[in-house]
């Protein structure tokens, strides 16, 4: 199996898996318990929080553990929204965790929703933000790296504009695809909330994090025993937190690679008219996401034949798979249409090696050629 779908999720790191299995026996206690085992679990939990905070230049007290990226983003949006309806501005290519929360505010609480269009590369231009954000805007949500095309947004410039034009707005950053992969420093970046998750960096599923500059300004979306600064009641899992902390360190220390670029080069050598979707590899693109356009054949059959041949990749984002959106919202926002051909996302991870990419490229070339023969008749 050639797994090239790391933007959807990653296999868990071998050492983390082993460490977690061991801790499921030794660190099972409730971190809120007063006894020795509870204290040990609490220490583990807090140590993980500290490691993650350190990685992004934050204080431990600013990190809230959640169930994952979607929960972090939902808490950020719904927890920041006050009682009075106001305006929320989001980019048109946000993950459904943001867009569905924003639609909810609009439909249920009467907020005004401003969707900020992206350019043909999937980038939200600062001047677009300048046009759309007003003094009435209370929430601005922008992703750091787009999950489907890898485009990186200039958050520093966007934040500057928002502060100037909407001084009361909270800035929410979806850093799920960027966390521990790109340099992140919440001290230098003038934003308010940032969401990330463990399973995109070879950590366990079921845990994510939300950084909040001011945790006490957030309102919980459900109530419980006061854990996680009162924002996420419920028994905490020290084992998952340990796995997440470990994964963050391992990912941030891993040598930076150019495998995304290499992936595109190899695929293009197999299919010369292949087009890279989104910005070129470099400062404006996340190095692990290689989205491509194959002219002349539809996405479904190509995805199926790759899957049959053992190559795992995605059409757009894996998250929208079951919601029967036939064509990616992100690609639509980039003015692309399904009639143009197939759109696939290959994404690499820490365990990917170049030989796999070469093998996948050969299979890719064969599948494309076979389908083109059928669709040409």
């Amino acid at each position: 199996m050639l797994y090239l779908d790391h933007a959807a999720t990653t296999p868990i790191d071998e050492a983390i898996r082993a460490g977690m299995l061991e801790r499921f026996e030794t660190r099972f206690a409730n971190p809120s318990s007063a006894h020795g085992l509870g204290r040990q679990a609490r220490k583990e939990l807090e140590h993980a929080r500290h490691r993650i905070a350190e990685l992004i230049g934050a204080e431990s007290g600013q990190i809230v553990f959640t169930g994952g990226g979607t929960e972090s983003l939902g808490l950020a949006v719904l927890g920041s929204a006050g009682d009075a309806p106001a305006r929320i501005a989001i980019s048109s290519v946000e993950h459904s965790a943001i867009s569905e929360s924003a639609y909810w505010l609009k439909e249920r609480l009467g907020w005004q929703l401003d969707e900020m269009p992206v350019d043909e590369l999937g980038v939200l231009r600062p001047q677009t933000v300048a046009q759309m954000v007003t003094s009435q805007t209370r929430i601005v949500a922008v992703m750091m790296v787009n999950n489907e095309v890898g485009a990186i947004n200039d958050l520093a410039s966007i934040a500057q504009i928002v502060r100037r034009q909407a001084p009361r707005a909270k800035i929410i950053v979806d850093a799920v695809q960027a966390f521990a992969k790109l340099p992140l420093d919440v001290g230098a970046l003038d934003v308010d909330l940032m969401a990330f998750t463990s399973h995109k960096i070879h950590g366990p599923k079921g845990i994510g994090g939300l950084w909040a500059r001011n945790v006490s300004a957030l309102r919980p979306v459900f109530l419980g025993g006061g854990q996680e600064a009162g924002l996420r009641g419920g028994t905490q899992c020290a084992v998952l937190a340990w796995g997440f902390g470990e994964a963050s360190d391992l990912q941030s220390q891993a040598p930076k690679h150019e495998l995304g670029r290499r992936c595109f080069e190899l695929l293009k050598s197999a299919v010369p008219d292949l087009e890279l979707i989104g910005p070129d590899f470099g400062a404006l693109r996340a190095p692990h996401i290689c989205s491509v356009h194959v002219p002349g054949i539809p996405t479904g059959p190509l995805l199926n034949s790759l899957s049959e041949a053992g190559v795992c990749c995605s059409a757009g984002s894996a998250c929208t798979r079951s919601s029967r959106q036939d064509f990616s919202k992100v690609l639509l926002a980039m003015q692309r249409s399904p009639e143009e051909g197939a759109f696939l996302r290959f994404s690499v991870g820490r365990t990917t090696v170049e030989a796999e990419l070469a093998q996948a490229a050969t299979i890719f070339g064969q599948c494309v050629a076979e389908l083109r023969a059928v669709y040409a008749t």
Binding site: P298, G300, P301, L302, L303, N304, S305, S307, E308, R324, C367, L371, V374, Y375, T377
Partner: protein, 401 residues
């Protein structure tokens, strides 16, 4: 109230003459098999005019569900043992009535009406049927006064005195009816991921047909999800017969060849002609006596009378089309009752748009299609498709109580 046994009454099986015993034997076998999973400690006993399921101490709703869904059974009675003694019956009858009145189905209200239907099969019993009925009725009405309506009461107390034991009941259910699966022989169902074909298969099963099924798969143009859906639909049908074989035919090369060499407006009919030929070959090899399809007159372009004529002669075997004259809404209702509707409507493509022409012909002509087929290596393509057929064994899906 938990019954002691289920009494399963035959429908038209009762009308069968000399070979009724064969039918009953098949029915008992089906029940035993299905009960293994649903109610492991239930026991099946064959009597001359009925089958009884003696319930053990384990869960029994599964047994009731099996009894109600098994073709060949007209009614299912939830019976309670009672001593062969009028006083014992008089004591028990009000308790059963009380439980029935409190059950969510009846809910005692002002309009509840009541009757007793007593039957004395054991002539040595001290009381005749009418008198027994009257005595039990009095015992119940003394505690729960209700208007009596002997024709159509909302609550009926049943009583049967037989040499091998006496029973009382208030609950009985309509069964599936029809004939035991397998009593008519084996047939091959053309199964797709749609709404119709599982219902057609179920109706054939209800007339005694055991099913194998055949599905035409076109990877990569149709996702594997679609085949999974077909498997799941097949598993529902497998419930009535213990297990079912699904022949998954590799149909891609045939579709490719037809698309490449034949005129677009004829392609759908040509696919169907190939499907019929392949199904007939598989049916012959598997000793299936007929094909079963979900075709319904006029539902789509390929199911006009003209176009049904075009496929009809291709099978040596008889083709059963149980839904031919049934309205779509009725088919959908049946699919819901069968439990296949929600599976069928899952949004996976069952045919790639690539292979479907914009305006398929509704009035195909046999000689034109035959001319189109001259361009193809029909036998070679069929051989290859059959060669690449996968045989998948399906087990029953879970029976939900």
């Amino acid at each position: 109230m938990r019954p002691d046994l289920l009494i399963l009454r035959f429908g038209e099986l009762w009308l069968k003459g000399g070979n009724r015993q064969d039918f009953v034997r098949i029915l008992a076998k089906r029940l035993r098999h299905a009960l293994k999973a649903a109610a492991p400690d239930a026991e099946v006993a064959v009597r001359h005019d009925r089958i009884e399921i003696r319930l053990g101490d384990g869960p029994w709703i599964g047994a009731l569900e099996v009894a109600r869904r098994t073709p060949g059974i007209a009614r299912v009675v939830c019976a309670h043992h009672v001593a062969r003694d009028v006083d014992a019956m008089k004591a028990m009858a009000p308790r059963l009535v009380q439980a029935a009145l409190e059950s969510p189905v009846h809910r005692h209200n002002a309009s509840s009406t009541f009757r007793v239907m007593a039957r004395r099969n054991d002539k040595r019993f001290e009381m005749g049927s009418p008198e027994l009925g009257r005595v039990l009725g009095e015992a119940v009405l003394a505690e729960y006064p209700m208007p009596v309506d002997l024709r159509r009461a909302s609550l009926t107390l049943g009583c049967e005195v037989a040499p091998h034991g006496s029973v009382l009941w208030t609950e009985d259910y309509v069964g599936c009816g029809g004939l035991p699966v397998g009593s008519a022989g084996k047939t091959l169902l053309l199964l797709s991921g749609g709404i119709d074909s599982p219902v057609a298969g179920h109706l054939a099963q209800r007339r005694g047909c055991e099913l194998e099924s055949i599905y035409f798969h076109s990877p990569p143009f149709v996702p594997e999800d679609t085949r999974d859906k077909v498997r799941e639909l097949g598993s529902v049908l497998a419930g009535a017969q213990g297990h079912m074989i699904l022949h998954s035919v590799h149909f891609t090369e045939i579709q490719k060849a037809i698309k490449a060499d034949c005129e677009a407006k004829h392609t759908v009919l040509l696919y169907r002609r190939f499907m019929y030929r392949i199904a007939d070959r598989v049916a012959k090899a598997r000793r299936c006596l007929a094909l079963v399809t979900g075709e319904s007159l006029g539902q789509v372009a390929s199911q006009t009378l003209e176009n049904l004529n075009i496929v009809d002669g291709l099978s040596e075997r008889f083709v059963m089309r149980p839904l031919l004259t049934v309205d779509k809404t009725e088919v959908m209702d049946r699919a819901r009752a069968l439990g296949t509707y929600d599976i069928s409507i899952r949004p996976f493509d069952d045919c790639c748009t690539l292979f479907v022409p914009k305006s398929p012909t509704t009035r195909g002509k046999k000689h034109i299609l035959e001319a189109q087929e001259w361009r193809l290596d029909v036998e070679g393509l069929i051989d290859e498709a059959i060669e690449r057929t996968e045989l998948i064994e399906l087990s029953p899906g879970k029976i939900t109580p």
